[in-house]
């Protein structure tokens, strides 16, 4: 089976996100009110061939832990869609 993979990487809650802070200030300066807790992250897409959804998920999860994210400072979410 082939899946389209989307990985959403965000800075962990307890880690300062200077980019998010800067964007938040810029939004406020431009008059966009009520927009708080801005975080800037990363969005990765790729395809994976796997036997089934579970093994695809396990493979992507492993890649996230080892390379795609740094667990010390980042969280991630994976979205799989059958391609």
């Amino acid at each position: 089976m082939k899946f389209k993979v989307e990985v959403f990487v965000s800075t962990r809650k307890d880690v300062l996100d200077p980019q998010g802070k800067a964007v938040e200030h810029a939004l406020a300066n431009l008059g966009f009110s009520g927009m708080t807790e801005v975080r800037v992250g990363k969005y990765l897409t790729f395809f994976i061939d796997a036997e089934n959804r579970e093994s695809a998920m396990a493979g992507v999860d492993d890649a996230c832990e080892k390379l795609l994210t740094n667990p010390i400072i980042e969280d991630y979410e994976i979205n799989l869609t059958e391609a």
């Binding site: 880690v15 300062l16 200077p18 390379l67 740094n70 400072i73």
Partner: protein, 235 residues
Amino acid sequence: MKFGVVVFPGSNCDHDAYYAVRRVIGEDARFVWHTERDLESYDVIILPGGFSYGDYLRAGAIARFSPILESVIAHAKKGKPVIGICNGFQVLCECGLLPGALIRNRSLKFSCKWVNLRYEATGSIFTERYYVNEIVSMPIAHGEGNYFADNETLAMLEDTGRIVWRYCAPDGTSEWSSSDAEIPAYNPNGSLNNIAGIRNEFGNVLGMMPHPERACESVTGGMDGLRIFESVING
């Protein structure tokens, strides 16, 4: 002594490190391309500054999986000296030889200037020739030098005396408030506890954001970095 300067695609302080060792100190130094695996003949490994693999994904993240890194890790595990400078420090954190991570500077700006550092912790093979509480000056040049670690790791580093360099004022003042409200002006990137460099448990691995190799001759503005290389040679 034979120094190996690891060269990744995008390293740009490799020649500075090579020059410092070879021309200033007068020891043997060779460049080691990132696809090589054999470090048997080297005594000291330098992971230099730069932008390995364009800093893609995260600084140091892809360099960490270069073929050479396995050998660097093995070299370190044998207790042999490894120093990571700037991007090299980022690689050491990514590969787990040092704890924590280096994130975007709080200012979001690339910071390139001379800073004052306080030497705090003995026990590193690279710093025997400095005096505790000595204030030295070295240049920094980075956009992602903001040291982060969770509270437990920070406490461990403090308690075990592994914070080798701390950013400080010219008079040596280096204060950090856990309230996080005010970052001192002498802290150039927002690093927690004003951390500029840390060592591993055994003292053979040192990671630091400032560039000692750029501070080895008075013509470049100062010589406070020279003793890093002298220390590891003479012990």
